[in-house]
Symmetry: C2
Subunit: 435 residues, 2 copies
């Protein structure tokens, strides 16, 4: 990994470079995605199945696009019992954490008969996108579905692309069943997103679509935003490790690589106050690359988006982290809690040497679907909040409105909204003298 002494210029260069990974920059695919979305909206299942044939190579018809109970039972039987137990323990932690995110409806009342409040309602039906491809990601299935289930969503519709034989990975199916998916459909890519947004003969229209996917999924989610809600537009993954001279270089190196292995666009950055640590981590990375299986991917992503940045002070390291707003932030310093207080922007913050990033990916409980590529400046981890919405509650008594009515009429009239003023005024017709 290259080692750079960080200054304003190199910082700016790194930020610009990282943002090039932004799905919003892939305009070349945008037209294709728009076309697919419009086509599925128009022709429903027919278009969906055509695209499934074209992109996934699977010959499905409407009668077998939904995964059956038999397929699910079969899948669960096929999963190694030990792995199922691990998934259940992980699920318990995820559920327990997300249950703490629940928020109540509330109200506030005054003795004059005023009641104001906020009613919290779960979304009725949500769509969960789970990537397919060569590997299966049952952990993402759990992370997508459990918060929806905890929020009280009654219909959780999952879509995931089939393989060429029209099958869905059994571990994915087992996870979906454990976590509580209501229905699972064999569909992926922009066509699956469009099907969830508009509904087809087979797939019901949902209120919100969540979950990460490839560039086509990301662009399709953006295209349907407004018709439905979406969680965010996911980009490639990244980790930033802040370390001082007390950090274990072997742990830091292993953690950087755990992100670098995702794909060639993944980004792994160490920011350290110790140039000695910088050197050792670089050496440890080289050592690991010799023995770890996915070293080809890691080498490519480190070459393009891997950095070891040496800074003069912990303040500079924190500033760099806040500018980059990493999806995953590890703090490997003497007092990680103190550093955490100064962190403004990060998806998840892992503190201390026994909190490496994969702990969060698989087990601890917080969600691993996190804002990527700088969007932690304004987006949050997927959570129960994503699956509820709020309605304001307003109740005024005659007494309460009586005290306010002239103010409201005046304010409305200042905006020339005379029918607004009228709607208040009619309630006090013939009462003007008494006020």
């Amino acid at each position: 990994m290259r080692i750079i002494k960080l200054d304003d210029r190199s910082m700016k260069h790194i930020l610009t470079d990282m943002l090039k990974r932004d799905p919003n920059h892939y305009d070349e695919y945008s037209e294709t995605v728009q076309k697919i979305v419009a086509d599925v909206k128009q022709r429903g299942d027919e278009a969906l199945l055509e695209y499934t044939r074209r992109f996934d190579g699977a010959e499905l018809d409407a009668s077998c696009i939904q995964v059956t109970q038999d397929e699910i039972h079969e899948a669960i039987k096929g999963v190694e019992p030990g792995l199922l137990e691990v998934m259940k323990r992980s699920m318990d932690n995820i559920r327990r954490y997300h249950e703490k995110q629940r928020c109540n409806s509330w109200f506030d009342s005054k003795p004059d008969g005023t009641i104001l409040g906020q009613k919290v309602t779960a979304l009725e039906r949500v769509g969960v996108y789970v990537p397919g491809g060569k590997a299966a990601y049952p952990s993402s299935v759990l992370m997508n579905i459990i918060p929806a289930e905890v929020a009280g969503v009654r219909q959780i519709v999952m879509v995931t692309p089939p393989d060429r034989e029209g099958r869905v990975n059994p571990v994915t199916l087992a996870a979906a069943c454990l976590a509580g998916a209501t229905k699972v459909y064999k569909a992926g890519g922009a066509q699956a997103v469009a099907a969830l947004a508009f509904g087809t003969e087979s797939i019901p229209k949902v209120n919100k679509i969540v979950g990460p996917g490839n560039i086509f999924v990301a662009l399709a989610k953006k295209a349907v935003y407004g018709h439905v809600s979406i969680d965010s537009i996911a980009g490639p993954s990244e980790i930033l490790v802040i370390a001082d001279e007390t950090a274990n270089p072997r742990y830091a190196a292993a953690d950087l690589l755990s992100q670098a292995e995702h794909d060639e666009l993944a980004c792994a950055i160490l920011v350290t106050t110790s140039s000695r640590l910088a050197e050792t981590v670089a050496r440890e990375v080289e050592e690991f690359l010799k023995v770890l299986p996915r070293s080809e991917i890691m080498k490519k992503s480190l070459e393009r988006y891997g950095y070891i940045l040496v800074v003069d002070s912990m303040e500079k390291a924190i500033e760099a982290a806040n500018s980059i707003a990493p999806e995953h932030l590890e703090i490997l310093t003497e007092n990680p809690f103190e550093v955490m207080t100064k962190i403004q922007n990060a998806g998840a913050i892992f503190m201390g040497e026994y909190s490496s990033e994969p702990l969060g990916d698989y087990f601890a409980g917080p969600n691993h679907i996190l804002p990527t590529n700088g969007t932690a400046k304004f987006f949050s981890p997927l959570g129960v909040d994503d699956f509820i919405k709020k309605s304001s509650i307003i109740y005024y008594s005659r007494e309460a409105l009586g005290k306010a009515h002239q103010d409201i009429e005046r304010f409305a009239e200042s905006e020339y909204l005379t029918a607004h003023a009228n709607s208040i005024r009619v309630r006090f017709e013939g009462q003007e003298e008494k006020q």
Copy 2:
């Protein structure tokens, strides 16, 4: 207003018709908006000022695009003191309500040294769009800015289009100053949204853009979503009034008109169990139309999107409301609280005959920037939540990770993410026998 006996067919027709007002359907403007956004992103102030000249007719240069302190003081002096007092009373209510929406960072700890939590951070810089045009909407300024201020946003940047003389409405400016805008710029339309999203020489880049606007603003917000966050895509306004035979028909009529006056796309629907009330309300509407100033707009919007729907039962009325998911819902029934419990989808719920919709627009405290056009099925009123984001907090001790490490390694390996497993494994190198 037309009176219709509601059945499934008419319901479907009304829903389809209403959704035609959706900003996502205005594809004809989409290309223009994309072009403006790309141009401002590329050329900054130069492009911004050109569009301001073209669309607002104002000749500004970079030196006078920001509203000065002098202009603000001048503006405040020009506002009628009585109106300022009204605005301050309204502001107090808005602030008090939104303060109740604040949420805490939290953590949960276990004696084995596990700490999990969620850190809440205010967004650093947000952009607030305030429409200009003929009328000024100081109430929208308050509703946009106060929740950001309550959330703890340090930089609140407001944009609003200037008139042909390059001036901003003084009441708008006074409201911005009262509510706590940090900076105000004379810019509107898609060009102002692009300037906030990407930054120009004059206007700083923000993290999120909120506030309603016309179709160009709505499409521009969608175009920049992902680069920045946005609150939602606002469409035209609507009200739905549920009323039984106990409702005051004159109040119901006045309240329907208070929405119909917004613009020709506004929608006003009464759903009632009483065909007698239906008739009386229709008559009252006619009477009001004879005397209210904005009757031309109201007539047009009622003709296109105004309905009085007669239903067999309160259950049917509630079902209709939940299908339409109105921005504003009034419940004028004998026991409005009981009806409220069954409402799933509505931006704001106004209960009882002294809680007419303009009370919420101007004074009660809850936000008047609400999900429109059916999006209350998944969006919420603007609020403090819009101006904060969350970071997960994860801290495990050696003991805690020791108990979990084999599970995590196993789960990671099942997904073939071997460097993930390695990052956990290195922490227990040479310890296998002891486990």
